[in-house]
């Protein structure tokens, strides 16, 4: 069985933004709170006419171009989103299949997951490809929350930005993926939900969930990998807010190697991890620990290990 892993990530972040400094008075917060706690000076906003499919296609086309990818060789494509088009019927990945011009035998499907979606998606695509002896797969994340934000709600309207990412998985990967850890605290499933078409969030419940569960999840990943946090070069966490990233880094003792980089676009849900990974220099990184957490309330964590044999066996990438 081939060992499927991650090769590359392409990102589409819309250039239009919403400026959180313009909301200070309305929401009774100061610049220091925005900068040092929320952490998002600006929130990326797709054009209202752009759809989840449109932003997905932009990220995928970038990935294809960057990697000179032959679209006839793509075996599968999976879209992670809880804001698909047409209420999910047809599944948005089928429309994307048509727009990208993938071959008939390329299988596509949507997966409904939030902020844990990228890591869970990596595991799903990896397992699926390995089981069916596939060589090239694409994992897409696109969850433009601007479609569901209540603009009068301080708790959510200063947090979320729009973006899409596309990740290339292959049998000749740059990064090996292993030691996954998953979980769901379903008693808190209402901490993030939709009511009357708009997002409702219990910030305290999500904070408590993340602060308690994520350090334990990462500890389990380290245990399975027989490593300590000191042996990890980089820790990538879902960019829920600067406050949660800083709090978790303190709890897992990874300060100084846990970047927060979403200042100019916001919490982009399942796109936040691939975006920060694509923006962080990883040449000197051998081991990267990552965790996504949110809607569900669910988490997914894993270890990325640089594949020292990348490029040795030619032919796929």
């Amino acid at each position: 069985m081939s060992n499927i892993g991650l090769n590359d990530i392409a990102v589409y972040i819309p250039i239009d933004t919403k400026d959180n400094y313009k909301e200070l008075e309305r929401f009774n917060v100061d610049k220091n709170f925005v900068d040092s706690k929320i952490g998002f000076r600006k929130l990326s906003r797709k054009n209202p006419k752009e759809t989840t499919i449109d932003i997905s296609v932009k990220a995928i086309e970038k990935l294809i171009h960057k990697n000179s990818l032959d679209r006839d060789k793509v075996d599968c494509l999976v879209l992670i989103s809880q804001n698909p088009e047409d209420s999910g019927l047809p599944h948005s990945s089928a429309v994307i299949h048509d727009r990208i011009g993938l071959r008939k035998n390329c299988v596509v499907f949507d997966v409904s997951l939030g902020c844990s979606g990228f890591i869970q998606g990596l595991s799903i695509v990896k397992s699926f490809m390995e089981n069916h002896n596939m060589r090239i797969g694409i994992l897409v994340t696109a969850d433009p929350y601007s479609k569901i934000i209540d603009k009068t709600d301080r708790d959510t309207s200063m947090l979320f930005g729009d973006a899409a990412t596309a990740s290339l998985l292959s049998a000749n990967p740059k990064w090996k993926l292993d030691f996954f850890d998953f979980g769901t605290v379903s008693s808190s499933n209402r901490a993030l939900h939709i009511a009357n078409g708009k997002l409702v969030m219990s910030g305290r419940e999500i904070f408590n969930f993340a602060a308690k569960e994520i350090p334990e999840s990462l500890e389990r990943v380290l245990e399975k990998a027989n490593k300590t946090i000191d042996e990890i070069d980089l820790v990538i966490l879902h960019q829920g807010s600067k406050f949660i990233v800083d709090t978790l880094a303190k709890r897992i003792k990874s300060e100084g190697k846990t970047p927060f980089g979403a200042k100019n676009y916001g919490n982009t849900v399942s796109s936040s991890i691939p975006i920060i990974m694509s923006q962080t220099p990883m040449e000197d990184t051998n081991f990267c620990l990552a965790s996504g957490f949110g809607v569900g309330l669910a988490w997914a964590s894993c270890l990325f290990e640089k594949n020292k044999e990348y490029g040795v066996s030619k032919g796929d990438q």
């Binding site: 709170f33 706690k37 219990s202 910030g203 305290r204 904070f207 408590n208 602060a211 308690k212 709090t247």
Partner: protein
């Protein structure tokens, strides 16, 4: 630790550890945390630290009973 024995000093130690950059000597026991300048996110983090330290649950509906050191001490002793 028995909750009846928790002191203002214990609470102050937790607050100082969790909230960066405060001068805990300037906080009165009866002063609201919000009036002292502690924001909503630091307050959440502080409450979690209290819950973990004393193995208690502070429900959302009781938050107004925990928004100063003296009120929090009373809540813990209930």
């Amino acid at each position: 630790m028995e909750l009846a024995k928790v002191t203002s000093k214990d609470i102050r130690e937790i607050l100082e550890r969790v909230v960066v950059g405060i001068d805990i000597e300037l906080l009165n026991d009866d002063e609201l945390f919000s009036e002292f300048g502690i924001d909503s996110l630091d307050y959440m983090n502080f409450l979690l630290a209290i819950e973990e330290r004393y193995n208690v649950k502070i429900p959302d509906e009781d938050l107004d009973d925990c928004n100063s050191i003296s009120k929090l001490l009373n809540f813990l002793k209930k």
